[in-house]
């Protein structure tokens, strides 16, 4: 009632207030206006109040309108096809927690398909139905991993909404500049103005946008104000030059090596070392080369492959002489002088030098050998681990596929499965430098030999959907695991990945696995049924994913 404006005539309002006061105090204490005291007083009060109540309600008028919100910016993207819009509604309706935990059964986990659906919709550039934005924002609020894709899909109207609802503030924080529109990237004047006057987040957004379009222009923009920026800001701006890094950036980076801030210096050094032609890389190469040499005089160690014959055939061997000091030049080039606890100073410096030296150095230094031959060389005095790990970091930083291949070795090699010189995490990073097909093939080979127990991390870096050989390897390995009689939840991680990553066209090949198999003697009780259930879920999910893609393709 208070929300709508009161009827116009003030006397009536006064009469009503008189009634309310009398009612609060009671007619024993106060006589209602217009009647005498006595037993009839309460009835008279109720009569009058009834008339007033209906009168007040019948006389209600609309209130004055408040300041209307600014209209949301136009979303130029085409709307979703209808079937896809319905699918999104269903995916969003499946919020976790509604029915608690428990066994997953044969039905697909819809929440896990949302990221994929969003990626597919974004790739096709569709706009969401506006009425689903609240559910979409709520989903993104609960799951930070969803946020980038969800917000990209949600588009400008979601940011408009987020300004009205404090629950969705995260959307403004996650979007650089709070969703403020960037100036057109050809408009030099407004770019310069925003760069000089904008908020930090807006400036970062502007710099990254410009960098991905015109790297040199972004660098030049940064140089105009570099000297006056705060240290933290310099670090962020410098880091955004990682995109589109090229030889042209070298002079600027060299200058940043002399920065007042240690973090800025370290970042500049790291970026420079990713440019194999840079002067810094050359200086690091000289330092690293000084530490590593080939010794042709090492006697062959008797091994299983070549039993000792007594002769002294010399095998070329790598010897390492770690640096004895970290001079100011090294420090200027980004070498951190103080080793972390538990590591020897000299090996710490050595690792950093090798990591920052261009990989091309080693072929030249080590007698024209190929990366594969170099990696195969024995190393003296237990330096192999340190040296190979540094080469791994260098291969990842310089995105050198040939070195990565050499360091990864054969996927079927026995040491590939166990803890060797190269850990699983490092392998996953090295795989990232190979192209998708080669990556899939290597992981497929790895799984065929070593099974699934170590494969989770490696599968994570493979392109989705999995290439046919990889998909086949995973399915075969799951089949083997089932025949071995263990429970499927030992493989729930890989199973979940397979549901999301296996190519939907593989669904047909799984048909044979859907039935409950006869239980072998040594199997865990009931495992066969659970495996059938898990495979059914896998197939159902694959079919669903195929349908999802299909819906997005029909417009």
């Amino acid at each position: 009632m208070t929300r709508t404006s009161a009827p116009v005539d003030a006397p009536a309002t006064g009469a009503w207030e008189g009634l309310v006061t009398t009612a609060l105090l009671g007619t024993d204490r106060r006589t209602p206006p217009g009647t005498g005291p006595g037993p009839e007083a309460p009835v008279a009060l109720l009569d009058a109040a009834a008339v007033e109540t209906v009168r007040r309600r019948a006389g209600l008028r609309p209130a004055r309108a408040s300041q209307r919100p600014q209209p949301a910016p136009e979303d130029p993207r085409p709307p979703l096809p209808q079937a896809a819009a319905h699918r999104l509604a269903v995916l969003l309706a499946d919020r976790p927690g509604a029915s608690g935990g428990g066994r997953r059964g044969t039905t697909p986990d819809l929440t896990e398909l949302l990221p994929q659906w969003l990626a597919a919709a974004n790739a096709r550039g569709f706009a969401p139905p506006p009425q689903l934005l609240p559910a979409l924002l709520d989903a993104a609020r609960g799951r930070t991993d969803l946020r980038p894709a969800a917000l990209e899909f949600a588009g400008p109207r979601a940011l408009w909404l987020a300004r009205l609802n404090p629950d969705w503030r995260f959307a403004l924080r996650s979007t650089p500049g709070g969703g403020a529109a960037l100036p057109h990237l050809d408009d030099a004047d407004s770019i310069r103005q925003l760069w000089q006057e904008g908020l930090f987040a807006e400036r970062v957004a502007l710099l990254s946008a410009l960098r991905s379009r015109d790297p040199a222009a972004a660098r030049e923009l940064l140089e105009t104000t570099w000297a006056t920026e705060r240290a933290e800001d310099r670090l962020m701006f410098l880091d955004s030059l990682r995109t589109g890094l090229g030889p042209d950036d070298e002079p600027f980076m060299e200058q940043a090596l002399a920065d007042r801030s240690r973090n800025v210096r370290a970042t500049a050094a790291e970026l420079l070392s990713a440019l194999p032609g840079s002067a810094l890389a050359a200086r690091m190469a000289v330092r690293a080369e000084a530490c590593v040499a080939i010794d042709h005089m090492q006697p062959t160690q008797p091994t299983q492959d070549s039993p000792a014959t007594g002769s002294t055939v010399a095998t070329p061997t790598i010897t390492v002489e770690a640096p004895h000091e970290c001079d100011p030049g090294m420090e200027r080039d980004g070498v951190v002088a103080k080793a972390p606890a538990g590591r020897g100073q000299r090996s710490w410096w050595f690792g950093q030098l090798v990591e920052a030296a261009p990989l091309g150095t080693w072929s030249r230094r080590l007698g024209g050998r190929t990366p594969r031959e170099i990696v195969a060389l024995p190393v003296t005095d237990d330096w192999q681990g340190e040296l190979h790990a540094a080469w791994c970091r260098a291969a990842v930083r310089q995105r050198d596929a040939e070195w990565s291949r050499a360091l990864l070795g054969e996927p079927s090699a026995p040491e590939a499965g166990g803890p060797g010189a190269v850990s699983l995490a490092e392998r996953a990073k090295l795989l990232g430098t190979l192209d998708a097909a080669e990556r899939a093939e290597w992981v497929a080979g790895f799984i065929s030999t070593h099974g699934l127990s170590e494969a989770f991390q490696l599968l994570g870096v493979c392109a989705v959907p999995w290439a046919p050989p990889l998909g086949r390897a995973v399915v075969d390995a799951l089949n083997i695991a089932r025949d071995a009689g263990s429970y499927p939840w030992s493989f729930s991680g890989v199973m979940g990945l397979a549901e999301r990553c296996l190519d939907p066209s593989e669904a047909g090949r799984l048909d044979g696995l859907l039935a409950v198999p006869d239980e072998p003697e040594n199997a865990s009780p009931g495992a066969g049924g659970y495996w059938a259930e898990a495979f059914q879920r896998l197939v159902t999910t694959l079919r669903l994913r195929a349908a999802m893609t299909e819906e997005l393709n029909t417009s």
Binding site: R64, A65, S66, P130
Partner: protein, 451 residues
């Protein structure tokens, strides 16, 4: 008849779910995976076999051609209605990606459908032959009604006494007396077989805890209760229509004996209110030809969904008959001539000033009316301090949202749909403000349920 082109939307299907858990479970089954031998017929039947945890798949059939909303049959043991399999099957059908082709019903489905059709046919011919239903002895019925009226009168007199006692001592004391006093009075009204009075009394008990301004609200409700009691005690002197309104407000049963009105009825909104005893489902209908809004009420035991469910945004060609009483919008659904089908019908809208005036006019027929159903055209959801209002796009006038509507998720769907632009909104407009229930975007676009 239902053709391939007019399948329902997923939202409409999900609106049938009895609770959130079924919604979720149904959504999961709305994929081709567990289904086999699914199909649909042009007569509006959908069937399929759903693989469950057992060896034998469940046989699920849904008949959407039925006059009183969809009918379901499933061989699963669930007591939910509809069960998740029926929901999943409808979702699969609504998805329309070829998983549910048109075809001939298998035997297990055909039998059930044929049985239903036959029973419906018999019922219809039975109705038209005019077999008298209800009590055979009109004299006994009259005596029963008289006895009940006496009880209600006794209840009304007692209630009047309580109200005058309250006013004599002052409302301030009601705050201390608390809930118990009112619960007891409400129980007395139940004994007096005056459900309408009982529920109003129960609501009185909650008012002192509703925050600032409660004395005003309490006095208003006491006064209206007094008005209702007085109306009952003097019902002989009231015009017939108003007396019927009083009877229905008191809670006496009426029968929908108004003349049947055939129309294309658009389902405007459907929502449930739940208290400890009863689930009440309200379905608002809009007659495209008569330009009339009507209310279907159905009830379920506490915690269970009423059976009648009509998806928002569909129209059904049907007859409805009104319940008696001045200004009463309640109707009963009669014969339905075609299954619900998607439509482009959208009710005509009005301005906020017209809506407020509409409520004022309606009070003339029924002073106890909380709100009237209206469709607002060209309004913009606008933040107003902590609250929201629907502001006219073209006038400086706005209706505030009711406190309940402010905290519902539907508010944000409405705001998102609008994006600061005018939308058309159907809802209930009353003295507490406006409750939006359904919205349409400007230009083309389907109805969006907000409740």
């Amino acid at each position: 008849m239902t053709q391939q082109g007019v399948r329902w939307t997923a939202d409409q299907v999900l609106a049938l779910a009895p609770d959130a858990a079924s919604r979720k479970a149904g959504s999961k089954l709305g994929a081709a995976g567990p289904w086999s031998e699914a199909g649909s017929s042009d007569e509006g039947t959908v069937w399929g076999l759903c693989k469950g945890s057992g060896s034998k798949p469940y046989q699920t059939i849904v008949d959407i051609a039925d006059a009183s909303g969809p009918a379901y049959k499933c061989s699963c043991p669930s007591r939910k209605f509809p069960c998740k399999h029926a929901l999943g099957l409808l979702l699969l059908w609504a998805g329309g990606d070829g998983a549910v082709p048109t075809g001939e019903a298998p035997e297990w489905a055909g039998q059930w459908i044929a049985g239903r059709r036959k029973r419906a046919e018999e019922k219809r011919s039975g109705d038209s032959s005019g077999s008298p239903s209800g009590s055979a002895d009109p004299e006994a019925a009259r005596r029963r009604a008289e006895r009940r009226a006496e009880r209600v009168t006794a209840g009304a007199v007692e209630l009047e006494q309580r109200l005058t006692d309250l006013l004599r001592g002052g409302l301030a004391s009601a705050e201390q007396a608390g809930y118990g006093l009112w619960e007891e009075t409400a129980a007395r009204m139940v004994d007096a077989q005056a459900q309408g009075l009982a529920s109003r009394v129960r609501e009185l008990g909650a008012i002192p805890s509703t925050g600032p301004g409660w004395p005003v609200r309490l006095l208003e409700e006491c006064a209206l209760l007094h008005l209702l009691g007085q109306g009952w005690l003097r019902r002989e002197r009231l015009p017939d229509a108003l007396a019927a309104t009083v009877r229905s407000r008191i809670g006496l049963p009426g029968s929908a004996d108004g003349p049947p009105v055939r129309d294309r009825w658009l389902v405007l909104a459907q929502y449930d209110t739940v208290d400890t005893r009863l689930t009440t489902r309200r379905i608002w209908l809009y007659g495209a030809d008569s330009n009339r809004t009507a209310l279907l009420l159905s009830y379920g035991a506490a915690g269970r969904a009423p059976e009648l469910a009509l998806p928002v945004g569909l129209t059904l060609e049907a007859e409805v008959s009104a319940y008696p009483g001045a200004g009463q919008l309640r109707v009963a659904l009669g014969e339905q001539f075609a299954p619900p089908a998607p439509t482009a019908i959208c009710p005509q809208g009005m301005t906020t000033s017209q809506a407020a005036a509409r409520y004022g006019d309606a009070l003339r027929d029924d002073p106890w009316l909380e709100s009237v159903p209206v469709t607002l055209d060209r309004v913009v959801p606008t933040p107003d301090g902590d609250s929201w209002q629907l502001a006219d796009a073209d006038e400086d006038a706005a209706l505030p949202l009711t406190p309940a509507a402010r905290s519902r998720p539907g508010l944000w769907r409405l705001v998102a749909l609008s994006g600061g632009a005018p939308v058309r909104v159907f809802g209930e407009c009353g003295h507490q403000g406006f409750t939006p229930l359904t919205a349409w975007p400007e230009g083309p676009g389907e109805a969006i349920a907000l409740c």
